[in-house]
Symmetry: C2
Subunit: 90 residues, 2 copies
DNA sequence: CACTAATTTTAGCATATTTTGATTGACACG
DNA sequence: CGTGTCAATCAAAATATGCTAAAATTAGTG
């Protein structure tokens, strides 16, 4: 792995390395969801959820798409899903 | 994934989410190494390396074993290696 | 024991991250 | 346009992390 990859992947892993963000990402494994739906599962202030989404977006882990008055989020990199699959294995 | 797993894996991913620690872990993929050898590849103060090793150890990512005056480190959880394999894919 | 090499630990400081209320922006609808 | 809903951003406080330098530990050797 070259230097760029090290810091890129370190950034990605760091972004995943937070319980709330990990839950958000896992909730997007099977389907895209809008912010309100993600928020509904998390018992946290709306701004907190939005900040975490913003971080995940800035690292290229998720992508958003406006859909009328809502904003949908979905996973952007297939490998993220694979990493989570490894974690869940046994 | 249950709540305990979320915070456990978030901790693990956070620990991996640092370029130095990622390099350390990657260097242990193929073989165990003593601190001096790990240090030699990193151009950092020895105590800094030791602190990163200590963190990786506290998260159960690596394990150490004293061997005379040296201390060897090796990966403890096979799944960590699998996560890195996913990262390196393409 | 004294000396050296290998490694860890501690302490302090600078930076970065996390959280949250308040504010702002975007959109739909009457 | 005014209002309500959904979501992003701002700003400030609290907390956590990373690094350096110095001191401490542990083991091997004469």
């Amino acid at each position: 792995m070259d230097k760029v990859s090290y810091s890129k992947w370190a950034d990605i892993l760091k972004a995943l390395g937070h319980p709330i963000r990990l839950r958000i990402v896992e909730s997007l494994l099977d389907a895209e969801k809008c912010v309100g739906t993600i928020w509904a599962n998390l018992d946290l202030p709306q701004s907190t959820v939005s900040q975490h989404l913003s971080l995940l977006r800035s690292k290229g882990i998720v992508q958003d798409e406006r859909c009328g008055s809502k904003v949908k989020y979905f996973l952007k990199d297939r490998r993220i899903a694979e990493i989570i699959k490894v974690m869940k294995a046994r």
